[in-house]
Symmetry: C2
Subunit: 257 residues, 2 copies
DNA sequence: TAGTGGTCTAGACCACCTC
DNA sequence: AGGTGGTCTAGACCACTAC
């Protein structure tokens, strides 16, 4: 058993006390000065220990207030049910999901013409650097930044569906608008990854240290070819994705919760 | 434009230089002492900036060696094709996937009888604290820790399928073994989440700071009820999950890569 | 105004790697 | 041996929040 550095001992001790409920979710930790006295360490050493827990997503800190144990509540997104065309409502699937969960959604929206980034071009099977329309959405739930969503449409598609390039929302939803033009998406390729946020993402999503992002890339296909590529960036601490595969009648028949 | 703290300026400057290729993947950064001179800051301040980049997963550090720009290579796992019963090979789907990618897999394995944790019990629709069999797998690719996988089987199922409780691998795969007993999984409910690793996970997966884990929970159902719940923990920097939904003939017909 | 965390410094000593 | 990062200290000053 090798000797642990002191800041590790601080972090471990506090983690144990958080795990066993001494400090519950939302409660405040003792101040740095108190902890320094308790562990017979300098304030800086205590800070090292605390910053470890911060970067592990266990606690947060705010100037003038102190350290607080992080609360976890997650929003579930059913990706296999998403964007069903027999959708009962107008508006997009996101708002419906959020309202159904008893929460209040809002979003900011913008449309621009861009050159297609490499990552997107691969998936849309177009030349990198060619033109595409980007529809970008910044989403909030109860005024907390929740996710960003960037959908790219290739240039050839915009020729057939000019409203994609117009600013402002498309009331019936873009998927349905395209379907009305005979461009029906019959398949999706989803990719899911995780990493720490870039500074830009941290700003948009108001993510503190220790919170990863969940990246969801969906490429939509007609029977002929890919028609759109959507990259959604979620706060990892607030979201979970669900997929249903095959026959789940055994699960759904007596659903309570 | 408010003034940034000096350690932020250090982090931002280095991030820019990494992004624009001044320091490419795998290359070494200047030493702390050199950076301190360059930014006219104390060594501790430079360390704050560097540790920011470490916790963002952009660089790693090793004692005696220095700081290095992280390399990214990801392994893709197709979750919708996974565990297909018409699978051509013996052995489990994981090994097949890895070998197909030209990599060398190995795993350690253990079986134990446990009391069902809350999280699992909910999904298997059994009492929390009741008995279940846990089959646990620690997986490596080219000797790099890759993922852990813990599958729980409820007690009632183990009565019908006693080999589940025996130590050692089941050659034909557990899914096929169960199918041979008339217990066929016809549906899966998948849940995907991300967070920073616990110290235990960081140890098993040899994860450094700044790397999140990807959590994949799959509950398998017969037409009657849930029969198993598998929780897989991936290193977030090395793995990506894919799902294919609906008709993707347009994508697969002229697949090159 | 008092208490909290945030930034920054200068310096000491240790542990690890390479030569 | 010399250079690298890792740990730790003591103290200063700033910025934010509460009262």
């Amino acid at each position: 058993m090798s000797k642990q550095p002191k800041y590790q001992q601080v972090a471990d001790a506090l983690r144990r006390e958080i795990d066993n409920g001494t400090y519950g979710p939302g409660s405040r930790l003792p101040s740095e000065a108190e902890l320094a006295a308790r562990f017979d360490a300098s304030r800086n050493t205590v800070r090292s220990g605390l910053s470890l827990l911060v970067s592990q997503g266990l606690i947060t800190s705010s100037q003038g207030l102190g350290y607080e144990v992080r609360k976890h509540e997650v929003f579930e997104l059913n990706a296999s049910r998403f964007e069903n065309l027999d959708f009962p409502q107008n508006g997009d699937a996101y708002s419906t999901d959020v309202v159904n969960a008893g929460r209040r959604p809002h979003q900011t929206f913008r449309v621009e013409v861009t050159t297609t980034p490499e990552y997107i071009a691969q998936r849309l099977k177009v030349e990198p650097g060619s033109r595409s329309v980007l529809r970008f959405c910044h989403r909030f739930v109860d005024d907390v930044p929740w996710s960003t969503q960037a959908t790219h449409y290739p240039d050839w598609l915009v020729q057939e569906a000019p409203r994609l390039a117009e600013p402002g929302d498309i009331d019936e939803g873009t998927t349905r608008y395209l379907a009305g033009l005979g461009i029906e998406q019959v398949g999706y390729a989803d990719e899911i990854a995780t990493r720490m946020p870039t500074p830009e993402e941290a700003r948009l999503l108001e993510i503190g240290p220790g919170v990863p992002v969940l990246l969801w890339t969906r490429t939509g296909y007609t029977t002929e070819r890919p028609v759109r590529c959507t990259v959604t960036t979620f706060r990892g601490d607030l979201n979970r994705m669900n997929y249903e595969i095959g026959d789940l009648s055994a699960r759904n028949e007596n659903e309570a919760k």
